[in-house]
Amino acid sequence: MQRYILFRLVQAGATLLAVSLVVFILARLTGNPLDLLMPIDSTPEQYAQESQRLGLDKPLYVQFGRFLVNSVQADLGKSIRTGRPVLELLRQRFPNTMKLGLSAMALALAIAFPLGILAAVRRGSFLDGAARTTAVFGQSLPSFWVGILLLSVFAGTLHLLPAGGAGGLKHYLLPTVTLALTGFMLSGVVRLLRSSMLDVLDSEYVKLARAKGLSENVVVWKHALKNALIPVVTFVGFYFALLLGGASVVVETVFAWPGVGRLAYEAVMWRDYPVVQAVVLLLATLLVAANLVVDILYAYLDPRVRYR
């Protein structure tokens, strides 16, 4: 197991290295940030001076090398736009994203688990149909649209909830609901859990569990669920990382949520290379970490993996 984890860590490092290279190059393909930063009447001399100050005049490989060396020392550079250290920005913003992501995931799973399981147990019932419809709706509604709709109803018309920003519990409500209901966290888990539960409920060992005289509750919640969760865990772990990265950019922007998603959005708008790089690197790290956690959970759920 230790060898395995070590191997996975090496693999993760390689992945991150590759990701940072790709991001580094892609960010620079979008154009020069000085075009946006410098006052319109700047002279070429001022331009060159600023370029030198930020190290943008060096060859790309030197810039990349410096970026790598600094990153390893936890120095992610300074924002080109504001001049504040990137690490500080992340430290400030990331907890917000994490909190929003966790609360959205908790809400999505709290709905998805019972819904997926009951849909499978009562296959073909009204509830099953409702669950499947919910799933299709959830994944086909764009989150920015749902977000704006919720905003205009609850913040605009009804004046019940704040329109944006972070603060008390009230601020969490709308972005959490938006993030939980749209995309694939809710719908994916409902569908995946339903189908894997159906497979498991059809299995011989469930038949045998019933033949022991166990009640249907024990059969479903003990014998079937643990097996049915195996594919679901993979999905949740992976999608949570995606949620923090992708979905949060849109939702945080709509709700003016001070998280890394909005930070990324702003940084891209300003071609703020160090910040874009850092955010993407952070999200890539999250994704890799999520995969690692999933694999370890897997070993917990499935003894066949544990003993290999």
Partner: protein, 332 residues
């Protein structure tokens, strides 16, 4: 050792009357079990033989009231266990019979154990449930169930997961689960079909031993006449949802009366002597949602005539406990 006659008591342990289990599918009503009656005495080994889709497995699941839901439904009949009709029990009362009075061993040892629980957990489960055993006592009983099935080093094996065992060992674990609460009736649904020959022989010998030691009644559900010949006292042959012939094993092999039984016995290659050419039954078993009129076997039967095609055959007594449902019985 095999076919020693069993005294039939006044009331059989298990009596099935006119059992009907239908499946309501989009192709129509599938009469998987269509008026099946038989009884199993105390300490008797009863065989239920037939080809796939004849309804033998659904008959067994019906006995435990575990017919696949929601398509399948027991629509009629009685299942008397020690005089009580199981079909009249509430679901929670029925659960007290499963695993405690009636147990089952399923066909495939590779899939009938839950991969994420230890063998010990899975054996202990019915014991905790039905006998309220806890702690050390529970574990001892689980270990002794493994010992009954002659699994070496049972205390250590309790902690193993199913994937750490061979197929033959897993099937013994399934047997240990079934026998852990000392049931009265054991249903072995193709229980040895997936095992290798020498492992099957070990397993059958084990069941024989438990049968003798505990006075257990066993229902062998199988497609293999060899198991019937080796293990059973009485046997029923099923075709297309109905029992077509019932007899003591010796009688069935010596004087088969139904043309299907005769043909099936002749279609099995023997091991102990040489045959030049096997007789084969032409055609295919019918599909249960579009059964032919009259006798279901008539399209494949060498003896069928217009009467067989038109009318359902009557149940004809051949001799004592030997009967067959046929218009044109084979003269014994």
């Amino acid at each position: 050792m095999t076919t020693k006659p069993v005294a039939q008591g006044a009331t059989p342990l298990l009596q099935v009357d006119d059992l009907r289990t239908y499946f309501f599918t989009r192709w129509g009503v599938v009469k998987s079990v269509d008026g099946v009656s038989f009884s199993v005495g105390r300490g008797e080994i009863f065989g239920l033989v037939g080809e796939s889709g004849c309804g033998k497995s659904i008959t067994c699941l019906s006995l435990m009231r575990l017919v696949p839901q929601p398509a399948g439904k027991i629509v009629g009949g009685r299942i008397l266990f020690e005089g009580r009709d199981l079909l009249k029990l509430g679901e929670s009362e029925m659960r007290r019979y499963r695993g405690r009075h009636i147990s089952i061993i399923l066909q495939d040892p590779m899939t009938s154990l839950n991969p994420v629980f230890t063998v010990g957990d899975q054996i202990a489960e019915p014991v905790r449930l039905h006998q309220r055993a806890r702690g050390r006592d529970l574990w001892d009983r689980a270990a002794s169930a493994l010992r009954l099935l002659r699994i070496p080093d049972p205390e250590t094996r309790l902690g193993d997961y199913p994937h750490q065992m061979s197929g033959g060992m897993r099937q013994r674990v399934v047997g240990a689960i079934a026998l852990a609460c000392e049931p009265h009736v054991l249903i072995a649904d193709e229980a040895t079909t997936a095992l290798d020959a020498t492992i099957q022989a070990q397993y059958l010998a084990l069941l024989q031993e438990v049968h003798e030691k505990k006075g257990l009644s066993i229902i062998f559900v199988t497609h293999d006449f060899g198991i019937v010949a080796k293990m059973c006292h009485r046997v029923a042959v099923m075709y297309a949802g109905k029992i077509v012939e019932m007899a003591s094993v010796r009688e069935l092999f010596d004087h088969p009366a139904h043309p299907y039984t005769v043909a099936l016995l002749d279609a099995v290659p023997p091991l102990d002597y040489r045959v030049e050419r096997l007789a084969s039954i032409e055609g295919q078993p019918p599909q249960l949602y579009k059964l032919p009129s009259g006798c279901s076997f008539s399209p494949r039967c060498p003896r069928s005539d217009s009467l067989c095609v038109r009318e359902s055959p009557p149940q004809v007594t051949v001799d004592g406990g030997h009967w067959a449902t046929c218009w044109r019985l084979v003269d014994a």
